[in-house]
Amino acid sequence: MLEPMKIDYKSLVKRVDADKMGDFISYDEEKCNGCGLCNLVCSFKLWSVKDGKARLAPRYQELCLECGACWDVCEPEAIEFNFPAGGTGIIIEFG
């Protein structure tokens, strides 16, 4: 095998009106069991686990891909995933 191709993945994502996206991921600390699956699946590692509880990066909107994988893997359903406000967020030109 060769070394993986050197690619700056973060630079390959476009967004519009990132400041108007709103708070579209919320989580309930009570329900969180600290398993860390949300961070495992996240492309840009926007979650972390501290003292047995997940934490979401405060400015996650700047990097989040809006894929919702963190919501889907959350066994105790502590994560609530909605979408950014209409007309804001990720723009996919070559999807």
Binding site: L2, E3, M5, L12, D72, G87, F94
Partner: protein, 492 residues
């Protein structure tokens, strides 16, 4: 409060086709898209199969004229071993017979286009038919009345009433969640990472031609969909207990293949865009409707259980839901029981036929290439199998040809116990899909070779075989349908 006959949530392929169809049926229809225009919030492999020419010929005609269009006549499969060596490359192939399966000789004519070309075109069909499109609007809640969905709410603060809601809002369906139909997919959802590359168009024509590619390696796999001047590398697997990494790592593993890097050099490929999305890949679509609402496309869990394609499935289900809407509203009954008609309709199409084998198709993948534990073993098996095809025998010059053949056969027989276990568990169950007419034809080839059977009539011969084999009996029952398990045809 604003009131419509039908509110469609989502301006992707499923939503637009549903809105087009309800508008054509004379229903007052509005559809909502959260992007600034349809297509800018969507990512997918976006390879459109030949069957569009049968089921949606006008769409396909338009697709061939879109800026990102590349024709796809073949899929090349590349198998990479643990050391990164390209060990096998083969293409799906076709013949004039394959081409003739679809009117106009389109049976080999697949197409690839980016969603930024496809989705606005499909939305245009809906607005041309009289549906109203509202963009940059996120539908974020349902209005419930007496246990039925009676409308939607938007992030602009509007409440909109509807006699029927068609939810085409994707894998993470807000409508399904808010109405209480479903929350998470619980193991049935996959996560796909897609890396798009720009390429030199002429070099793509020369090197890749009219093809898509698939890459399989130990603990790594990807589809490569080739567009006019770029391609997607898409990698994904189920979000379940086998998941061991983040989405980007799936892509990185494939970019380590020397043959992949060589292909990139040959077409001047440069990374252009990174995307991630989830895709439900289910053994069986769950509940598709409730009083006042039907789900279509990804929201309903319709993507193909064998290869995960979902756009054709979105169009088919969007059309079936829209026709059901017209039927239900003409009767004035949108109860859950009335909307059972939706299931009847989509199941009667080729979409239903595809899902009839959902369990078998998903089990096969889940336990082979997508199972980290058995992936390496399965690769070995595939590689040994590939050594036995005629060209391997002809061009293996390490020994006398008959000895080469026997050595390959020997390797394969070594692996036979492992294969027979896998085969009986995950391949044999699919045999129920073989057409009875084909089973009879195969048996008829055997009959003349066996002296005591030779003089029996076909009818008597099949009776004897039915008595001897429980497995074959259902195929030979005179009442068995002679072609496909479900009647062919689609809602037109």
């Amino acid at each position: 409060m604003e009131k419509w006959d039908v509110v469609v949530v989502g301006g992707g392929p499923g939503g637009s086709y549903a809105a087009k169809t309800t508008a054509e049926q004379g229903l007052k229809t509005v559809f909502f898209e959260r992007g600034r225009k349809p297509g800018e919030k969507n990512s997918s492999g976006c390879g459109l199969g030949q069957r569009y020419w049968r089921d949606f010929p006008d769409v396909m005609e338009a697709v061939t004229k879109m800026p990102s269009f590349r024709k796809c006549e073949m899929v090349y499969i590349n198998l990479i071993d643990e050391d990164g060596r390209l060990r096998y490359r083969s293409g799906t192939n076709g013949s004039d017979l394959c081409a003739a399966r679809i009117d106009g000789n389109h049976g080999m004519d697949g197409a690839n286009v980016y969603r930024k070309d496809l989705d606005p075109y499909l939305a245009g069909l809906a607005t041309d038919a009289g549906a109203e499109l509202r963009t940059s609007v996120l539908v974020n809640d349902v209005i419930m009345e007496d246990g039925r969905v009676a409308g939607v709410k938007t992030d602009k603060g509007d409440s909109i009433q509807a006699d029927l809601v068609i939810a085409a809002d994707g894998a993470i369906s807000t409508m399904a969640k808010k109405s209480g139909m479903r929350n998470r997919w619980e193991g049935g959802n996959t996560l796909c990472a897609q890396l798009d590359f720009s390429c030199d168009e002429q070099k793509m024509d020369d090197v890749l031609g009219k093809s898509n590619w698939v890459w399989f390696g130990a603990l790594a796999g990807a589809y490569q969909v080739n567009f006019r001047d770029g391609f997607h590398l898409g990698c994904g697997t189920w979000l379940d207990e086998n998941w061991d990494t983040d989405a980007i790592e799936l892509v990185r593993r494939v970019t380590r293949f020397p043959a992949f890097q060589a292909m990139c050099r040959a077409v001047d490929a440069k990374p252009r865009e990174y995307q991630a999305h989830t895709l439900p890949w289910l053994r069986k679509p769950p509940k598709t409707h409730m009083a006042g609402m039907m789900l279509v496309g990804d929201a309903a869990g319709f993507p193909c259980p064998l290869e995960g394609e979902g756009i054709w499935h979105a169009l088919m289900s969007g059309r079936a839901a829209a026709e059901t809407a017209a039927w239900a509203l003409s009767k004035g009954d949108v109860s859950e029981r009335a909307l059972d008609e939706y299931d009847k309709r989509w199941k009667a199409t080729d979409l239903g036929k595809e899902h009839e084998f959902g369990q078998e198709f998903v089990d096969l993948w889940y336990n082979s290439i997508f199972d980290p534990d058995s992936m390496v073993e399965q690769m070995q098996l595939l590689l040994e199998f590939s050594m036995l095809h005629p060209f391997s025998i002809v061009f293996d010059w390490s020994d006398a040809h008959m000895d080469c053949f026997n050595q390959h056969l020997d390797h394969l027989l070594e692996l036979a116990p492992q294969f027979s276990d896998f085969g009986s568990k995950f391949i044999a169950p699919m045999a129920r899909g073989i057409w009875p007419s084909n089973v009879k034809r195969i048996l008829s080839l055997v009959k003349p070779r066996v002296p005591i059977l030779r003089n029996l009539s076909d009818e008597a011969f099949f009776k004897v075989v039915s008595k001897l084999s429980k497995g074959l009996a259902p195929f030979l029952n005179p009442a068995a349908k002679q072609d496909a398990p479900l009647p062919r045809g689609s809602l037109k």
